[in-house]
């Protein structure tokens, strides 16, 4: 009898340990998928950093391209990207924050807010080249901006709108309900509550969304193909109606359209590194900012 129980116990123990080793293998298999993600990112970053770093120097960052774009720097592309993302956020941030304030502070939750939120999510899924078509038809032709900074900026603004709305809404939601109720109880009107109580506390979150939107806009190419990006311009854009050079478009040209592709490969690598660093830095800033203010929220401050 006793040995019977003991035997059974041993069998169970054995099964358990068998399972445990299966599990260990399984867990490692799953962990490997993340290691693979890390590896992919590592290979991409390593390739671009190792081959692009040698190209980057002061001259590369501050000089325009020379000799049919086979020499010189990428200064106009950096400036162009800076200008166009500036227009993008002046368009997308007020609208996005406004929509988020509407959704979270003003609207009665119901069919209409569901429709707005659904539109936000669907807008986020529209292919970037379709934004390009829309921008070309509306901003370039119907509004008559022509291919320009403003047409491209508005097109990119539409594309980044879902990012700013979502992030702003998340930021507004983290402001405790009691704050609003307390202010209302003191006789404040809705706009006063939003302006003096809710918005100041939501600013870091909104800023995070803005930076994420910026990063997205800075890296997009398809929407600016026909709305204002130029192959090469001898001077910097002098108004919002000028065409511009942009980092992502410059990289596209230097790697596929240039007449001496292998000769300009180093310049393409340098451009890729500058663009990648810019986007990664912006994303990193957003992540850090979000972490800081989430901690603050968690502490109830």
């Amino acid at each position: 009898m006793k040995t019977e129980v003991l035997k059974r116990g041993i069998v169970i123990e054995k099964k358990k340990s068998e399972w445990r080793s299966y599990e260990l293998v399984g867990f490692w298999a799953l962990r490997l998928t993340l290691v693979l993600v890390l590896f992919i990112l590592g290979v991409i970053v390593f390739d671009i950093v190792s081959k692009g770093a040698g190209v980057i120097n002061w001259e590369f960052l501050t000089q325009p391209p020379r000799v049919g774009m086979t020499e010189g720097g990428i200064f106009p592309a950096i400036v162009g990207t800076f200008y166009v993302t500036l227009i993008t956020i002046t368009f997308a941030v007020p609208l996005g924050v406004g929509a988020a304030i509407y959704l979270n502070e003003y609207a009665v939750q119901g069919k209409f807010t569901r429709l707005v939120r659904m539109s936000v999510r669907n807008l986020a899924g529209v292919p970037s080249i379709v934004f390009g078509l829309f921008g070309m038809a509306v901003f370039v032709k119907i509004f008559g901006f022509g291919p320009s900074l403003i047409a491209a900026g508005f097109t990119l603004g539409l594309l980044t709108l879902p990012v700013t709305v979502t992030a702003s809404e998340e930021a507004l939601r983290t402001v405790p309900r009691a704050y609003r109720e307390g202010s209302f109880a003191l006789g404040a009107s809705r706009w006063q509550v939003v302006r003096t109580v809710v918005l100041p506390r939501a600013i870091p979150g909104i800023l995070t969304g803005t930076i994420l939107g910026l990063a997205r806009a800075a890296g997009e190419t398809a929407p600016i193909l026909a709305t204002g990006a130029a192959f090469f311009l001898p001077q910097l854009p002098d108004s919002i109606r000028s065409q511009f050079m942009a980092l992502p478009y410059h990289l596209f040209i230097m790697s596929t359209q240039h007449h001496a592709i292998s000769q300009v490969r180093p310049i393409a690598y340098g451009t890729a590194l500058v663009l990648l660093s810019l986007v990664c830095l912006l994303n990193l800033a957003a992540v850090l900012l979000r972490k800081r203010y989430r901690n603050r929220v968690a502490k109830g401050l």
């Binding site: 599990e23 693979l36 890390l38 390009g132 709108l161 709305v165 026909a226 990648l276």
Partner: protein
């Protein structure tokens, strides 16, 4: 005085909310109104005829989108074949197994990968992956559907990981506890309880990944070779719908038949991604309901 400000602010914010809907409707309207002249002039059939997209042909321009649809299909399916299993496995690990520091370490990496601009990924495919593929399969050029599928899969992976992880995390804790209390191992709990319970959310994540893959433009434009011939294998050069639009958008003559035909392609792309996203949206709204 104060009430005027109040009212103005309310109107402004309502307008902002309304604007979002208007933009989405506006995009559909612009696509329709610009593709309609083309559809009226040519009818629907030429866009799905067996010939090629060749709007610049002297005499008889042709506008078939069929080969581009094949191209989009190949790149998308090829991408999802590996991106979905890897993405879901990674999500399961992050949600169920990873220790806090592992999560802290891996999640930003996924986010950084999501942030890599598509043109940079395309450049990588062009200069690194293409020569590798050409050598491995003994081809003249590694610019083909296979290359595109790999890169688009890499692009779709962060979307799938993030959303599938959200779906798995949303499964009520009681499900796991019940399974573990009945003697289930963690492994069994993950595969037999948690993931089935999160199935609609995981499907939605795969669909949103698919939406990204279908619409992805710059990467495929740079790495798939862009031939308009009918592809016969993954090692053939293909042109996707999105890349097809991007190639022609720069020098198309305004209001020409070619111009309208491009909008037909855009409309098709919009409708496909819209349907996919809507379906994913409906799936995401569904909560796990095994217990009812």
């Amino acid at each position: 005085m104060a009430s005027i400000t109040e009212k103005t602010m309310r109107v402004i914010f309502v307008f902002c909310g309304l604007a979002i809907i208007l933009f989405l409707v506006g995009i559909l309207y612009i696509l329709l109104s610009n593709s309609l002249p083309g559809l009226i002039e040519l009818g629907l059939r030429p866009f799905f005829a067996a010939d090629r997209w060749n709007p610049g042909a002297y005499g008889e321009p042709t506008y078939s989108l069929l080969n581009m649809i094949y191209g989009t299909l190949m790149v998308t399916v090829g991408a999802l074949i590996f991106a979905v299993p890897i993405g879901v496995a990674a999500a399961a690990y992050l949600a169920e197994i990873a220790s806090p520091w592992e999560r802290e370490f891996f999640k930003p990496i996924v986010e950084v990968l999501a942030g890599v601009p598509s043109v940079v990924l395309g450049f990588f495919g062009l200069v690194v992956l293409a020569p590798l593929i050409a050598r491995a399969f003994n081809l003249n050029s590694g610019l083909n559907a296979f290359n595109g599928a790999i890169l688009v899969g890499i692009m779709a992976m962060p979307t799938i990981i993030t959303l599938a992880e959200d779906a798995i995390t949303a499964v009520p804790r009681e499900y796991r506890h019940a399974s573990l209390a009945l003697g289930g191992t963690r492994w069994q709990t993950i595969w037999k309880i948690t993931i089935p319970a999160a199935f609609s959310g995981i499907t939605a994540s795969a669909m949103l990944g698919m939406g990204r893959a279908i619409g992805e433009t710059m990467t495929v434009l740079m790495v798939t070779g862009n031939m308009v011939a009918r592809p016969e294998s993954f090692l053939d050069s293909v042109r996707t719908l999105s890349a097809g639009i991007a190639i022609d958008i720069g020098d198309v003559v305004f209001n020409s038949t070619h111009f309208h035909a491009l909008f037909v392609a855009g409309l098709l792309l919009f409708l496909i991604t819209f349907a996919v996203n809507l379906l994913a949206d409906i799936l995401i709204q569904r909560k796990p309901e095994v217990n009812k």
